[in-house]
């Protein structure tokens, strides 16, 4: 009985959606063109995704799987035309096999191409060991390039504002208070994360201040997250009211 009611709700909603679209197209509010059908498709998928808020249902599942498939297909096409074709196929493969090519093949590209192919050999039991060469290259290069840059950008440069003088002339009282707060926040949170010392006495008091700083930062993050998720909802409802129903200008 309950399954039947869910089925009727789904069919009824789809029927209502179809009726609204027929009315919008008949009244000329939606153009009878690819643009118009594009808007209807967008609206249908938006409503299908949001229908999950009521309950999991087949319309949501279809939209979810469609999203995964379409985004993967789109990524493959974009990667071919923006990367593989201009950076590998055109400079290496075309000159090798085309007599009309004016430029010599860039044989140096064979090495990174082989390393890339080795990565895919993880799917083969016999040849998966070759992928370790690629991983060794990626890890070695990545570590070598990243470590100095990350230390410079995220540790040394970030330490500077923490060590900024409270008052060195030209600052307002508020910027001096900010500097003190930053210093207090950094020290208290660092002490909170020292677990080799028991959090008692002065250490305990300072680590409690650290917890307060952490809680305030979690609260700020949560507030921003609410704002972000709400922005997505507002954007979708703007699309429904403006592009589909024509209520908003």
């Amino acid at each position: 009985m309950r399954k039947d009611s869910n089925f009727f709700i789904l069919v009824g909603t789809i029927g209502l959606f179809v009726c609204i679209n027929i009315f919008l197209m008949a009244s000329g509010k939606l153009p009878f063109s690819f643009d118009g059908f594009g808007v209807i498709l967008g609206v249908g998928l938006t409503l299908a995704i949001y229908s999950f808020l009521y309950k999991d249902n087949p319309a949501f599942k279809i939209a979810e799987n469609l999203y995964v498939g379409v985004s993967l297909g789109y990524t493959i096409i974009i990667t071919w035309f923006n990367f593989l074709k201009p950076d590998l196929y055109d400079p290496l493969i075309v000159p090798m096999f085309s007599k009309a090519a004016t430029k010599a093949p860039q044989y140096a590209l064979i090495i990174p191409s082989m390393l890339g192919i080795f990565m895919l050999l993880r799917f083969s039991r016999k040849l998966s060991w070759l992928s370790r060469w690629t991983f060794a290259f990626v890890v070695g290069l990545g570590a070598g390039v990243s470590i100095p840059r990350v230390i410079s950008a995220f540790i040394l440069e970030q330490t500077k504002p923490s060590l900024h003088p409270v008052f060195s002339g030209g600052e307002t009282i508020f910027s001096s208070i900010n500097t003190v707060l930053i210093l207090l926040g950094v020290i208290s949170v660092l002490i909170y994360f020292i677990f080799s010392v028991e959090h008692k006495g002065t250490i305990g008091t300072v680590s409690k201040i650290g917890i307060w700083f952490l809680m305030i930062s979690f609260g700020a993050s949560f507030g921003y997250t609410v704002m972000g998720r709400l922005s997505l909802l507002i954007g979708r409802i703007q699309f429904l009211l403006r592009d589909w129903l024509g209520i908003l200008q």
């Binding site: 985004s71 789109y74 923006n82 990367f83 390039v145 704002m227 954007g235 009211l241 209520i247 908003l248």
Partner: protein, 267 residues
């Protein structure tokens, strides 16, 4: 009292949806004062002389479109109005469609021509490696633009060999690309960097403002609305501030209400 604590979450969803729809349909103005991080980017663009090169990294995809596309459009209006040369690129495979749409539509309003006044280089994978490649030689990183044109022949790129010659880089980010631009781009090749990000990422970016590794930041739809108001091109972000403010008040009321009921029920 227990019933109030176990209220069906779908009722809350319905209230939020109705609040958004009503505040979008009813028209009322709210003040949108610009904050310091947003002014940082605005003032930088105002300070650049005509013909300066600005690079925009469209590092987002349709999932973050609602927050970052209004930023991109408002920023492009500002750049083209100031007669700056705009170069677009992206680290995200899902971005080219959105980036091209934004650049073309705004450029057409100012009669700007592709190749002469602006260029879209398209998508390339690689992240940090790509930035280092661009920092050494822009043309080896992007031998062709999004439309297949040879980048060495584009007049808009004249005078630009690498990231070192870029006057300002603006990263619109839905992921970790701001940190990547800072570590592998700004710190190494010494260009001015500003960013726009989703609201979720906003708090994590403030330390970079404090250390002046970012000269400005647009955070979420609010940042976009502030920039739209500054450049005088009020669009979807400014309209979105009405439901944003109304629903924030409702959520605050829900939080206070929930806590009161919780403490009363504990007695």
């Amino acid at each position: 009292m227990e019933r109030l604590l176990r209220i069906d979450r779908r009722i809350i969803f319905a209230i939020i949806t109705i609040a958004v729809i009503v505040s979008l349909v009813l028209r009322f103005e709210l003040p949108i004062p610009a904050s310091e991080p947003v002014l940082g980017i605005y003032k930088k663009i105002e300070s650049l002389p005509k013909g300066s090169h600005v690079m925009i990294a469209f590092d987002y995809d349709p999932a973050s479109k609602e927050e970052l596309q209004p930023m991109a459009v408002a920023f492009l209006h500002h750049c083209f109005r100031r007669d700056l040369k705009v170069i677009g690129m992206t680290h995200y495979p899902g971005a080219p469609g959105l980036a091209e749409q934004a650049m073309t539509s705004v450029a057409n309003q100012y009669q700007k021509k592709h190749g002469e006044d602006y260029a879209f280089l398209g998508y390339k994978p690689g992240s940090a490696s790509l930035i280092i490649n661009m920092g050494e030689n822009l043309y080896s990183a992007f031998p062709k633009d999004f439309y297949g044109n040879d980048t060495t022949t584009l007049p808009v790129l004249q005078g630009i060999d690498s990231l070192r010659e870029i006057d300002f880089l603006f990263d619109l980010a839905a992921g970790t690309t701001i940190e990547t631009w800072i570590a592998f781009g700004k710190e190494k090749y010494r260009f001015e960097l500003g960013a726009g990000c989703t609201a979720v990422m906003g708090p994590d970016m403030y330390p970079f403002l404090q250390s002046k590794q970012l000269i400005g930041l647009l955070g979420g739809l609010k940042g976009a609305a502030e920039y739209e108001a500054l450049v005088g091109k009020k669009g979807s972000a400014v309209i979105g501030m009405r439901p944003q403010s109304v629903v924030h008040v409702i959520i605050i009321i829900f939080v206070i209400f929930g806590n009161i009921i919780y403490f009363i029920s504990k007695r």
